[in-house]
């Protein structure tokens, strides 16, 4: 009952966010919101940007890549020089080169894969200036790309797709900062810690032991961690830590925050291309897949843990509680983790490693589909649009016209770019997994043997390749090998999709628009939603079925046998 009410509340809030936040974002990106121009204008002057000047896709892409490169270098430098920088009450040393590389790439690519425990590795300065800043700007970059591809569809015969600097600045100032500010206060009120005072040392007189309780400016980082689908929290325990996620309310708010922008962007998309129904169709496909995997995971986790059953524990009321946060229960934990893996957040409040095989499979599924249901901030929308283009191409032929999507003819160049964007992630993840399972540097870091160990490696590279950042755990990935390979994985997973998407945006914007008629393949109908779901499932299944067979499926059919 409690779970049903939670779901209902979430659906209602998300519906409101879809309509209101979605419309607000239209105003922001069409330049009709001005209430913060007193912050905005000086920033443009400082950056030397003329906000009225739009860019073609090549300049837009170049700006994005330069910005990201500078971000990586800056973050890397801050982490490497941590010991010399202020706000370091624990006197933590510099972050090691390989880890600093992995972490810098991780936060710049909106992945937030963490090969470290925040409380014992990062100074407050690193948390605030290096990592939280990227938690704001990396989703802004994602939104910029999403808006660019939307403009590609909306414009006709245009050489320009917008100004990257304006899109990023407006994303941060008008969308991410105000929402984060308000919700951080709520989190503080709920008990989330916000302090620069360093760890608290407590002497437990009763038991005669001393205890150090790490603290940090948590609430400010926590909200943007969810809102920006970042996922990287200050503590290793992430969403299971009572300072990060103090109450049932913050648990639900966290889920709401991480879904809000990806969901609302579908409305923004619909409005900007001239038909809210088009955005609704994309959202419907996202929802169907999200609900499906949530149902699989909840059903699997509410059943018994097969390993425990095999060990003779016949009666397991309450389902598979192993590794779950007791405060939130099975359903609350599963909902959080599904929401976090189906967006590209990757924050967790329970241990994925301890899920049942099918539950673990459901967590992998969101990523195997490319983290598009609803996916990361911006990235979810622009990536699912690639699948939509493939769907339109195949489906559109079946109505006897050369295919078109939103009035744009889908021809050789569009198919080439969309196929490239769709394929880059699976190829990268599969090849890197194959390398990792084949060499000692890869297999040595794993806790478990057999299919569980395989899942741990596969999950790590799948998560980084999708810029998700959630971890299956069980793998000690803070090795030179995993830090370096993971960084490569994240970079390809991010920019290997962004560059084709922006090129596509340029190609589409330059095209004329074909008016719709009764002979047009409609992309705002249940039929299209069904086809899009089918194409996403099929591409995900066809590419990852063998890998999934060797991990969760073997375990499922082994009925709790350990390897």
């Amino acid at each position: 009952m409690g779970f049903a009410l939670t779901l209902l509340a979430l659906v209602v809030c998300l519906a409101l966010a879809w309509r209101l936040l979605g419309a607000y974002m239209v105003a922001v990106f069409e330049g009709r919101a001005h209430w913060l121009s007193w912050v905005e204008r000086p920033l443009y002057r400082a950056l030397g940007v003329d906000p009225g000047r739009e860019q073609g896709w090549q300049r837009y892409t170049a700006s994005l890549l330069i910005f990201s490169l500078v971000s990586i270098l800056l973050t890397y430098a801050l982490l490497r020089f941590q010991a010399l920088l202020p706000f370091n009450p624990q006197h933590l040393p510099a972050v090691a080169p390989a880890l600093a590389w992995n972490t810098a790439v991780s936060f710049v690519t909106n992945t937030n894969w963490q090969n470290y425990a925040g409380e014992s590795t990062m100074s407050y300065f690193s948390q605030m200036v290096a990592l939280t800043v990227q938690n704001f700007v990396s989703p802004a970059v994602g939104m910029a790309v999403a808006i660019a591809i939307i403009r590609g569809f909306a414009r006709r015969g245009s050489a320009a797709i917008g100004n990257f600097w304006v899109d990023v600045v407006r994303s941060v100032i008008y969308i991410l900062l105000p929402i984060s500010f308000v919700f951080a206060l709520v989190f503080v009120a709920q008990g989330s810690v916000q302090t620069l005072a360093g760890p608290a040392h407590i002497h437990d007189l009763l038991n005669g032991v001393g205890q150090t309780i790490p603290r940090a400016p948590i609430a400010s980082q926590e909200v943007i961690k969810q809102l920006g689908t970042n996922g990287g929290g200050p503590f290793n325990a992430n969403g299971a830590h009572p300072f990060e996620n103090p109450t049932g309310l913050t648990n639900v708010l966290s889920i709401l925050l991480l879904l809000a922008i990806p969901v609302a962007l579908t409305y923004t998309f619909g409005r900007m291309v001239g038909s809210v129904r088009q955005g609704g169709a994309v959202l419907a496909a996202m929802t169907v897949l999200f609900a499906g995997w949530l149902a699989v995971a909840v059903a699997a986790e509410q059943g018994p843990n097969p390993a425990a059953t095999a060990a003779g524990l016949a009666h397991q009321p309450g389902g598979n509680l192993n590794g779950k946060e007791a405060r939130f229960g099975v359903a609350g934990s599963v909902l959080y983790d599904i929401a976090s893996t189906q967006t590209s957040t990757g924050s967790v409040n329970s241990a994925a490693d301890s899920y049942t095989p099918l539950g673990g499979l459901a967590l992998m599924a969101g990523m195997a589909q490319g983290d598009i249901t609803p996916g990361g901030v911006g990235s979810g929308l622009y990536t699912i649009l690639l699948s939509a283009i493939v769907t339109v191409f195949i489906g559109g032929l079946m109505v006897g016209r050369t295919p078109e999507y939103l009035g744009k003819k889908i021809q050789a160049r569009e198919v080439k770019l969309a196929a490239l964007g769709v394929l880059v992630m699976p190829v990268t993840v599969l090849v890197l997994t194959a390398i990792a399972v084949a060499i000692p540097a890869g297999t040595g870091a794993v806790l478990n043997r057999g299919p569980q160990g395989f899942s741990e490696i596969f999950y790590a590279l799948l998560s980084q390749g999708n810029n998700n950042g959630s971890a299956f755990a069980g793998i000690s990935a803070n090795t030179v090998f995993y830090n370096v390979v993971g960084g490569v994985d994240m970079l390809i997973g991010r920019f290997g999709i962004i560059v084709p998407v922006l090129a596509l945006s340029g190609v589409l914007a330059a095209k004329a628009t074909v008016p719709a008629s009764a002979g047009t393949f409609r992309t705002d109908t249940p039929m299209f939603v069904g086809l899009l779901v089918g194409v996403i499932l099929l591409i995900g299944a066809l590419t990852f079925f063998p890998a999934v067979s060797l991990g969760p499926l073997v375990q499922q059919f082994s009925h709790g046998r350990l390897f």
């Binding site: 493939v390 191409f393 195949i394 489906g395 559109g396 032929l397 079946m398 109505v399 006897g400 016209r401 050369t402 009035g407 889908i410 021809q411 050789a412 198919v415 080439k416 196929a419 490239l420 394929l423 699976p426 190829v427 599969l430 090849v431 997994t433 194959a434 390398i435 399972v437 084949a438 297999t443 057999g450 299919p451 160990g453 395989f454 004329a512 628009t513 074909v514 008016p515 008629s517 009764a518 002979g519 047009t520 393949f521 409609r522 039929m527 086809l531 089918g534 099929l538 299944a541 066809l542 590419t543 079925f545 063998p546 890998a547 067979s549 060797l550 499926l553 073997v554 059919f557 082994s558």
Partner: protein
């Protein structure tokens, strides 16, 4: 099929022995890797076959050899499908070549002397002379004379046509035969570039280039092939992690099963067959691009006469004025039309006969027929002192006023009403009196309204083009059910209409024949020139209709759509097939590593070897099974995009998902029963 029964472009059955044999030989010839490289999907299969064969040689086993043979057959089947599609065109090209033969031309020198030279040496601008029995040596334009010409070599139509210098009927085509009279022809084509040459190259497919949509689809298929290479290549290390081994032959079998071989194998056959279907309807598309564009057409410009209405106006009513009776009018109208051989004139006689039982009669002399002239705009008959005339209302009014009569008051109003209804009023006068008006009606073809409704459901707007005044045009447009019309059309207004439609993003198709149609034909996305038309028109259009049948435009659009649907349907089918193949091969692949995965063997296939072999055999045989569909095209019934999609997703999507489960299981049962695996 309109004219399939005769001529060079007769249809051939799918399984014509004369085509099957050479196609089988061609299939082997196409194994050349350079040929295969054009098709990335089949190239991967070929490469896989070679690796599999090497593996079978290194570690011989019945299983490895069987897989290798079936992989080789997969490539051969694909080649066979293409060769079969090409074979039909080649047979047509051969018979066209025979008609060309080695013609001699009588070239006129500067001094007017005739010189005999081979037709192949004629250049553009040369003048030649053709007499009765001569084959026209090359394409050209008649500059002097008139002749009846047998064009059956090109069109298949045996009735001779008249060609004369000047005007829109001056073009002659190389390879046709002069039956009577003598003409002087100025050659308009360079050697090798004649209509016949181009036609031969087209049906032969020698110049075939991939069309834009075909290129886009090939890219998608290449991408789907590319992704499965790493999917399969990573499996040995994946299995190695669990201390398992996987067989190279099985991996190649899996790869070939996963990549979209079905559509990859049939893609070029689909394209060639699409062109061929047009040829069978006596339409020559100058490029595959035009066929594809035909499927996309959203605005269809149709000439009123011949397409929407029967060619001629027919008398439909006698409407008397000024107190005269209907039979008086009918009598006078019939007399005035007795000598009138125009279809309109004949129809008046017919109507008078059927309504008033007025038979054609012998007229007592003295009588004199007055033929129609552009000055008087009337025709009629003088018999005794009666002077009977019929013609345009204004001309007839002139006529009676000159004879001292007065037109009745209701004449103009009646004439107006008739014009508004889309008919033509023809006034009839006897001496100084107007008897009434014969209504000449444009008869809309039966069934055309339904056809337009279908087109509308398909999202195609029809625009009627007519030289009539707006009133008449509007009435006919309403009766025929077209969406719009262009009245008092001139080449300029037609051109302007095409430009506006295109500016709105519409793709426009039109048909034309005259030289002044040429710019519009060139501007239209699909321009179909009638074969009876001028060389300029044929040059400008991207298709030629040998039957010169204006209704053909609708067929062309349907063929274009059918071509695209066939591609989409087979792509969907091919991809959906993969699901069953995974369930067959994955448990077999890891059978020794993880026997638990036997749970995925939902088809309960007999053994790992039989499972892999069954999947590979199914994958090969499905290509053969679908060749007829690829050549014929999927069933197409004009309907809305939504219902087309629903049907095709159900048949080819769902069918593609389910069929291989059944097929693989059946093959497995057969292999097990025959102990092949």
């Amino acid at each position: 099929m309109a004219q399939g029964g005769h001529g060079v472009v007769r249809s051939r059955s799918l399984l014509d022995g004369a085509i099957l044999g050479p196609a089988a030989i061609d299939a082997g010839r196409k194994l050349d890797p350079r040929v295969q490289l054009r098709n990335p999907v089949m190239f991967v299969v070929l490469a896989g076959t070679v690796i599999s064969a090497a593996e079978a040689l290194a570690h011989p086993s019945a299983f490895a050899w069987q897989i290798t043979i079936w992989l080789a057959l997969t490539v051969l089947f694909a080649n066979f499908a293409e060769a079969l599609a090409e074979g039909r065109g080649k047979a047509q090209a051969d018979s066209l070549r025979r008609t060309r033969g080695d013609t001699l031309a009588r070239r006129l020198g500067a001094d007017g002397q005739e010189v005999q030279i081979p037709a192949s040496q004629l250049r553009r601008g040369d003048r030649v002379v053709c007499g009765p029995g001569d084959v026209v040596p090359s394409d050209g334009e008649i500059v002097a004379g008139v002749a009846s010409i047998d064009e059956s070599a090109i069109t298949g139509e045996s009735a001779p046509v008249i060609r004369e210098s000047g005007g829109d009927r001056s073009a002659v085509t190389g390879g046709t035969r002069v039956l009577s009279d003598r003409i002087e022809v100025r050659i308009t084509a360079e050697p090798g570039q004649t209509f016949l040459d181009r036609m031969i190259r087209l049906v032969e497919g020698a110049q075939r280039q991939k069309t834009p949509n075909e290129i886009a689809l090939t890219i998608l298929l290449a991408a789907l092939t590319l992704i499965f290479v790493p999917v399969v290549v990573v499996l040995p290390p994946f299995a190695g992690y669990a201390h398992g081994r996987v067989s190279v032959v099985v991996l190649i079998g899996l790869l070939v099963c996963l990549i979209p071989t079905t559509v990859g194998a049939l893609l070029s056959a689909i394209g060639i067959a699409g062109m061929d279907r047009l040829v069978q309807r006596n339409v020559l598309a100058m490029s595959g691009r035009a066929v594809e564009a035909a499927g996309d057409v959203s605005t269809l410009l149709l000439d009123k006469t011949g397409t929407i209405t029967l060619g001629n106006r027919m008398a439909s009513a006698f409407l008397p004025v000024g107190g005269h009776t209907e039979s008086e009018l009918a009598d006078a109208a019939q007399l005035a039309s007795l000598a009138d051989e125009t279809p309109e004139g004949r129809s008046i006689v017919v109507l008078a006969k059927s309504h008033f039982n007025l038979r054609e009669r012998e007229l007592s002399p003295p009588h004199r027929f007055v033929p129609f002239s552009a000055q008087t705009r009337m025709s009629g008959l003088d018999v005794g002192n009666r002077r009977i005339r019929k013609g345009a209302t204004s001309a007839v009014r002139h006529f009676i006023e000159a004879a001292g009569g007065r037109a009745p008051a209701d004449l103009d109003e009646l004439a107006d009403r008739i014009a508004r209804a889309g008919s033509t009023p023809l006034a009839v006068a006897d001496g100084g009196e107007v008897l009434g008006i014969v209504e000449l009606k444009d008869v809309v073809k039966s069934g055309i309204t339904e056809r337009f409704a279908q087109l509308r459901a398909m999202g195609i707007r029809t625009v009627m083009i007519t030289g009539d005044n707006p009133l008449t045009a509007a009435a006919i447009a309403a009766e025929a059910g077209v969406d719009d019309f262009l009245a008092e059309a001139t080449p300029e207004t037609k051109m302007a209409l095409i430009r506006t439609e295109q500016a709105k993003g519409q793709l426009v198709a039109m048909m034309g024949d005259g030289t002044n149609d040429a710019p519009a034909l060139a501007q239209a996305d699909v321009g179909v020139a009638m074969n009876t038309g001028t060389a300029a028109a044929k040059e400008a259009g991207n298709m030629v209709d040998l039957d010169s049948n204006p209704t053909k435009l609708i067929d062309i659009v349907e063929i274009g759509k059918q071509l695209l649907i066939t591609r989409g349907a087979l792509t969907t089918f091919s991809i959906a097939n993969d699901v069953a193949k995974y369930f067959a091969i994955i448990p077999a692949l890891f059978a020794s590593t993880y026997p638990q995965l036997e749970a995925l063997n939902v088809m309960r296939l007999h053994s790992p070897a039989s499972a892999v072999l069954s999947a590979v055999i199914f994958n090969a045989l499905i290509i053969v099974a679908l060749i007829p569909l690829a050549l014929r095209g999927v069933r197409f019934r004009p309907s809305s995009a939504a219902s087309l999609l629903r049907r095709n997703v159900l048949v080819y999507g769902m069918g593609g998902l389910i069929l291989p489960f059944l097929g693989i299981k059946l093959i497995d049962l057969f292999l097990t029963a025959t102990r092949l695996a």
